[in-house]
Point group: C2
Amino acid sequence: MDEQQERHIVTLKDVAAASGVSISTVSRVLDDRTPPSRSATAERVRRIADDLGYRRNMFASGLRRGATGTIGVLVPRLTDHVMALMFEAIERTARARGSFAVVATCGDDPAEERRATETLLDRNVDGLVLATARLDDTLPALLRERGVPHVLALRTDGVSPSALGDDEAGGYFAARHLVDLGHQEIAVITGPWFTSSARDRLAGARRALAEGGIELPDARVISTGYGIESGHVAGRSLLDGGATRPTAIFAANDNLAIGVVAAASAAGLTVGRDVSVVGYNDIPLAAMLPVPLTSVRTAFDQIAASALDLLGGTDGAVTRALPTLIPRASTAALGR
Amino acid sequence: MDEQQERHIVTLKDVAAASGVSISTVSRVLDDRTPPSRSATAERVRRIADDLGYRRNMFASGLRRGATGTIGVLVPRLTDHVMALMFEAIERTARARGSFAVVATCGDDPAEERRATETLLDRNVDGLVLATARLDDTLPALLRERGVPHVLALRTDGVSPSALGDDEAGGYFAARHLVDLGHQEIAVITGPWFTSSARDRLAGARRALAEGGIELPDARVISTGYGIESGHVAGRSLLDGGATRPTAIFAANDNLAIGVVAAASAAGLTVGRDVSVVGYNDIPLAAMLPVPLTSVRTAFDQIAASALDLLGGTDGAVTRALPTLIPRASTAALGR
DNA sequence: CTGTTAGCGCCTTCAT
DNA sequence: ATGAAGGCGCTAACAG
């Protein structure tokens, strides 16, 4: 279809020459930020630009305008399914709003986080979405000082604008579900203590248990990482406990839950019969496990939308998207 | 530590003024592409630039130089663990070589793939890594015509430079492993037929079976998607078959294998005893499943390194990184 | 609405 | 080794 050989890259000058108007006119006609003119020349210029295969040079354009139509996203790692889902949601949302999302990964290392942030800022992003916040992190404060537009996603430092899931409610739903099934011996495995999500999910679970008049001794609360391995270790320590073994476990993350399930299998227990397990986030895999996993579904799209809203917004707001409990076979009433 | 308030962004001009030299000198001193000068002024300028918190404006710089130090990566989706692993490997490698990797996702839709490619090219990437190639895809041809530096990763169209895993060898290892365990009734579930990886893995499996003098009837070969769900469906159809049921299944992807395992559980079969299952890629989850999954480990880092090598290279080469079989509990000798 | 003019910040000849 | 000058492609004032 396209016959033009793009050996030479088409610039505004070429389009101007071909249309017999000035460069500025072309620039204005092709400006996508204003409602497009419907005048005859405008139409013609647009057609010619299209025929020639003109594409705006983002460097030149970005140099001149302030903004770049790019937002930077920082996540610990994309191999964490939760982060991949979050980023894809942000990417979709950004695209729908006409911008482009670039991602950088930084593991769990604050120094690396700084470095990655600088890298993104160097690329003149219009704003930053951080899915890395620790409660003890000073990066958000630094960004606030520097006046860099930013928003925290999934986790908060308690100060900067944040687009969160309602982790307290999610934790409540999960634990309430177990209580409703008649469980009394319940344990909670929560994520790293430096994440707001870990604390809030535990707080929600505590509320549900308190309502049911159920004790949650400290020995039944384990704070650990967010990886499968952590769940495996925690699960083993909970399930090997013989008589004191809990009949139900709320893992504050599907990875943890998967680790727990593996530990249960290894201990000869059947999940959904001998022990009930609830996860969190409802990653697609949850539904496809040998024993489908009950989980709390996080509204990633809603969080992404809020995040981009807040990026534009004026000052420190916090949104909390309500999650949904998805009951599956991994949880069952006590005593079958 | 940094005391300067970056209200005003520091440019070369500022550094020049503060050091009492010309802009061009500063520009030269700070040019990271050439071996850094060790002269007195050079050292001083570098120090001042650092103190002032100077950061090169990539737009201005990119506008002037041709290159941007950015490579674009195109993947179908990051929620596919394989793609997340591939991208992270590319990101790491790129960073180690001083560039930055940006990713775009495009699903399985060729039209969307074009759009995403244009988006990346608009951002003046120095080159493109595509992990999306279909055998019937015309995008690589288009890029070749246009002279856009690019390399295909994981999958090839058979023409453009490609950094692949040795899928034929991997398929061979997987099937050979099953043959060695004494299995005779073996089925293969392979990925979409438009991917070179699906075809090559099947070809390797065929070779191993042929060596063992084992038949692979067409009914025992299923070509499907690369998702868990596809594996579940395929697994069900293979395992429900009563007497004709295979004793071992090679799934050309861990997702497929997980789906098969779920189907096996649902059919009341114990994986590793009643049926052996081999996956492919050895995603971290594979080792953590209730029954740890035997899989063929893909050398993502090696593929990433080759990909970036080929991006710089002259013309159409193909590299194939040798994978490794990782035996686990999901495969066992026939008859226990 | 259109064209002219003047840079955005940086890099790179070309002279010194 | 250094400085002066021009321009990458685009956009934002400023006239007309």
